[in-house]
């Protein structure tokens, strides 16, 4: 089983983004950019997902939704913040209803900058997330083995 790599599933949620990063994430799953060639697949169900792609900043209403989706995902999990708004709040940081980037609510592993983030950088972020997911998974397995023996 050592040579088998995980094929993590992606979940995409739109925080309060302007749609720009959103449609770029979707464009990444279509044949021109095809992020699925790296062994990931897009899903709509948080309970199936391993990698959480989130676009847009956090506002008072979606805060709980994001937290809930994060908790519903099985561990280990990787969070990718796509776009400047998801990283820091971006241009909307000063708006009354924006709390800031995604890391104000859940831990973020990978930040993808850009307004809107380009498909190339999204792919880069996903590839890094796949590697990190494998790493987290191996670590978990080692821990389990150590606990057994």
């Amino acid at each position: 089983m050592k040579n088998i790599h995980k094929s993590p599933w992606l979940l995409h949620y739109d925080g309060s983004s302007c749609n720009g990063c959103d449609i770029e994430v979707l464009a990444c799953t279509t044949p021109v950019y095809d992020v699925e060639r790296f062994g990931v697949v897009n899903t709509g169900n948080p309970m199936h997902a391993d990698i959480f792609l989130i676009t847009g900043g956090i506002n008072s209403q979606n805060e709980d939704v994001v937290k809930q989706i994060y908790e519903q995902m099985p561990g280990p999990k990787v969070v990718v913040a796509v776009g400047t708004c998801a990283c820091t709040g971006g241009i909307f940081k000063e708006c009354y209803n924006i709390k800031g980037g995604v890391d104000t609510v859940i831990p973020v592993d990978i930040y993808v900058p850009g307004c809107a983030a380009r498909p190339e950088s999204i792919i880069d972020g996903v590839v890094k997330a796949v590697a990190l997911f494998q790493e987290k998974h191996d670590k978990k397995k080692r821990k389990e083995r150590a606990a057994k023996s």
């Binding site: 241009i91 909307f92 708006c95």
Partner: protein
């Protein structure tokens, strides 16, 4: 006596790229009433006028929505230009027209793809999005950006497209038109598509007016209104017919949008052949003082911009009424009496753009 139940729908749902929440009151499988609750994407960007000056606001308005980003910038800029009495050069108006029509093609193709995805026609989804990439490539060649490209400024545009580039674009569009015919023919002829769309989600002409529907939603109910006919930008020099349909159902909305794709290509051709060789921007001095409103035809329908300025660097009030905001009451009407299974599809037929709606 059928049993009544309330089913929450959204905000995170596989068919919705964006979060919206509906409370559906069901009687068995039939939807009796739908109550929308919005606010998942509300940022409050209209209030940024107090923090960013009127030039910086162009970049904020472009980020109201990433799909019709260009036209939001254009609407805000033309409202401020109207207040300041600035006449922008003719070439800039033509360039804005060309970019606006390219945005419309990209937006309608995006919608066709999502629609196909909603009824489970994956191949058609991929085809539509493949064609859409060609438009995005053109944006990238001309401006450097793919979805948000910030070429508007108060007093004109920031980048020019040389004649050679324009003729190349027309050549690409000519090739694309053929492929588009093949792809859209599937939407119009395939029986599986028809079985999901024909006769579903009727919005009568009277309801469309009473509920204030706009854009393709309204035109698919037989109302001949297209803000482009008011002749803003360079549309006064362009010859085109308003596309309508009398059938009032989801299929009619699909047909109207498909016809508008070809119409947009034709408008770009005309604009390229008529574009004059002038400057692309004029210098603008001073601060705006006064108020103005502008109506534009976006891919999703009529958008309304209102700007009130007080002669200082900061604008007093900026209001955007986006097309989806106007279409939500019509959606509620359409959802009444539909099957529960059709709800995701019907939400898509208004071409919802939630980040526009909630700003």
């Amino acid at each position: 006596m059928p049993k009544r139940s309330i089913v929450p729908f959204g905000p995170q749902h596989p068919v919705l790229p964006e979060p919206i929440h509906l409370d559906l009151v069901l009687e068995d499988e039939l939807v009796i009433e739908a109550i929308p609750s919005i606010g998942y994407v509300h940022r409050g960007l209209e209030s940024l006028v107090a923090k960013k000056d009127f030039n910086e606001m162009v970049y904020v308005t472009e980020r109201i929505c990433g799909i019709c980003s260009f036209m939001h910038g254009m609407g805000y800029c033309s409202a401020v230009e109207q207040i300041m009495n600035v006449q922008i050069p003719r070439r800039a108006e033509f360039l804005r027209t060309i970019w606006a029509e390219m945005s419309r093609i990209h937006s309608h193709l995006l919608w066709l793809g999502l629609l196909a995805d909603a009824f489970g026609f994956e191949a058609l989804f991929m085809q539509s999005w493949r064609l859409r990439e060609k438009i995005l490539d053109m944006f990238e060649i001309a401006t450097g950006g793919r979805v948000i490209f910030s070429v508007n400024k108060i007093g004109g545009v920031l980048k020019d497209m040389p004649a050679e580039m324009l003729s190349n674009f027309v050549a690409v569009l000519d090739g694309m038109e053929k492929e588009l015919r093949e792809t859209t023919q599937t939407f119009l002829d395939d029986y599986t598509v028809k079985s999901r769309l024909v006769g579903v989600g009727i919005l009568t002409e009277e309801d469309a007016i009473r509920r204030g529907a706009v854009g393709p939603m309204m035109r698919a109910s037989g109302i001949e209104v297209d803000m482009r006919k008011t002749g803003y930008a360079a549309y006064d020099e362009i010859d085109f017919q308003v596309i309508t349909s009398k059938e009032c159902d989801s299929f009619a909305r699909c047909k109207v949008r498909i016809a508008e794709l070809f119409q947009s290509i034709e408008i770009i051709r005309q604009a390229v052949s008529k574009i004059p060789d002038t400057e692309i921007s004029v210098p603008v001095k001073g601060f705006p003082n006064g108020e103005a409103y502008v109506r534009l035809e976006q891919p999703r329908g009529e958008a309304f911009y209102y700007v009130r300025a007080n002669g200082s660097k900061f604008v007093d009030r900026m209001r955007v009424r986006t097309p989806t905001f106007a279409n939500i009451p019509a959606l509620m009407q359409v959802l009444q009496g539909c099957q529960f299974g059709d709800v995701p599809l019907l939400i898509l037929t208004i071409d919802p753009c939630i980040s526009c709606t909630e700003r």
